[in-house]
Symmetry: C2
Subunit: 329 residues, 2 copies
């Protein structure tokens, strides 16, 4: 048996292209003492991966040229030299873009009531990001208006549904009529604004007649700038992603920062790792809503490791629909 | 007896000029039932006044053309038709740029251990702004580095001294060598960077070898942008003033906002009115430090109402030194 993996071939200048990746074959790794050999079944694709492909300063070190692309996976234990795991166990790992890997730090997935892949989405990092970002930084109060960008994505879709569950008006921003329809009809948001329609400011005004109390920002750039000018007194801006800047060679320059003073806004960065100690709380809440049918969740599945690069490129361009996964098994 | 007052003659486009003001004579007002006639002794000049001269959206309605310029004053009661005040009482009012006025909402000044004018500075709004902005939004921990811009001003000078009193490294930013020397030698800051010297980034790096944990921003614009890139993980930015934008016809566009995400910064707007209910706490703390000689305070005094416009223009250009007052009495 041999392993296959995707490495970073070159750093993107602007948009990511397939040339930035290389697929390699290599021998199957062997588990050492305390380690576990895992066959990856699902690879999660996430916007943060764009950051790792760059050598710009970020919250985690980037991937070096020739190194394995990082990523979270769900897999099955093939061989274990760790007393806590046995063959056949399902596990959550950080094994990256490859078919097999040897892991030391991994988590057993005990839950069998939902598909395994949910641990990479609604019951994993994206779900927890939505939960803590909205609850702890957004601090929404019943009756307030919550706006979230990338509303049909893995994080945004949960943010808006939680906002509704917690008594708020939920307004999404998404690219294209089809996504907007999904966000309102399927996910139950009160409204969704199509930022590709070219009337973001006016459309937001209509969708948020009482202004915006919480803006959960997954995109940064011009959409953030437009929202800043729509925030209510004491509004909160959850800064969770800057996808619009990921592929720009120069960062967008924000014009409406004075709104922070005028309206006493609080703007705060959100990275899910900071909430590690409370993952259990988020998992219990999200799994509960899911079991009660109160939380809808959609996956977008690509088959095969060789299609992962195209999958990430699509994700960065917004062509996915729901949580983007690569099926490896 | 007649009254004299300064009204807004026209709105400034960019920098304020003396043409934007007009001095008028008018009859002395008469106190009605429940009102008090006050002779103003001191008028406070503050950067926020530039905002009131504009019709742009702000946290308080602007002054209309032909209307009295707003401002806080300290005065003496000449005639009272309000049972809580009597002739000779010293009072804090919002009577604006005039020699006499009739007030309904005013505060008696009981304190006699400090000059009356202190109620407009270190023991008034600027002092309270520094206290709550630093304590509640900046939340400095001992050993952290606190940077404050407009460091020789009414707010900045208190921010840095409180930072030192609370166990932090205090670094000021001020315009010119003379102000910087005052900030370090007189006020006891650990360092002060001259933003006019043209090496803000490098000089900040030297003054803050461990990075910046709290940035108390009185100026906005390029200085804020530079600081964003120097903030430590979980740093706090207190957004208190945007004086650099007040006189620009186009707002400065901030480039380094991504730092909010990468370093999980919290950036929050601060207006002192929001803390009204706790003014007593700030007053007790600041008066205590002052009495113990732990808090230094400097005033910059202009004589005569007719010189108030030039005083505000100087303040906006940074030519004042310490709290800017107009002596009317």
């Amino acid at each position: 048996m041999e392993n296959r993996r995707v490495v970073l071939a070159s750093r993107p200048a602007g948009w990511v292209t397939e040339d930035n990746f290389r697929i390699e074959s290599c021998p199957l790794p062997v588990a050492g003492q305390g380690e576990v050999l895992v066959r990856n079944l699902w690879l999660s694709l996430d916007p943060y991966m764009r950051g790792r492909m760059s050598d710009a300063n970020s919250y985690v070190k980037g991937v070096d040229i020739g190194e394995l692309m990082v990523g979270q996976t769900v897999g099955e234990v093939l061989d274990s030299r760790n007393e806590h795991f046995k063959k056949g166990d399902k596990v959550l790992t950080q094994l990256g873009w490859q078919l097999y890997g040897v892991a030391k730090e991994l988590t057993k997935i005990e839950r069998t009531d939902v598909p395994l892949s949910y641990c990479l989405g609604v019951l994993g990092m994206p779900g927890f990001t939505a939960y803590f970002g909205l609850k702890e930084i957004g601090q929404p109060k019943a009756g307030e208006t919550v706006v979230v960008s990338a509303a049909s994505g893995a994080v945004g879709s949960v943010v808006g549904q939680l906002a509704r569950l917690w008594g708020c008006r939920a307004v999404g921003i998404a690219g294209g009529a089809q996504k907007c329809e999904y966000v309102t009809r399927e996910l139950g948001f009160d409204a969704c604004v199509d930022h590709k329609a070219g009337n973001l400011r006016r459309d937001l005004e209509r969708a948020c007649p009482k202004g915006v109390d919480v803006y959960f920002d997954n995109v940064g750039g011009e959409i953030l700038d437009t929202l800043l000018a729509r925030m209510n007194l004491f509004g909160r801006v959850v800064v969770c992603g800057t996808i619009s800047d990921y592929n720009a060679t120069e960062p967008y320059r924000v014009r409406n920062l004075r709104a922070i003073l005028v309206n006493r806004l609080k703007m705060q960065g959100m990275i899910v790792f900071d909430w590690r100690a409370r993952y259990g709380e988020a998992l219990a809440a999200l799994a509960g809503y899911l079991a009660q049918g109160k939380l809808k969740y959609r996956e977008s599945v690509i088959e095969g490791l060789e299609n992962a690069p195209a999958g990430l490129i699509g994700l960065l361009k917004g062509s996915n629909f729901g949580k983007q996964l690569v099926k490896l098994g």
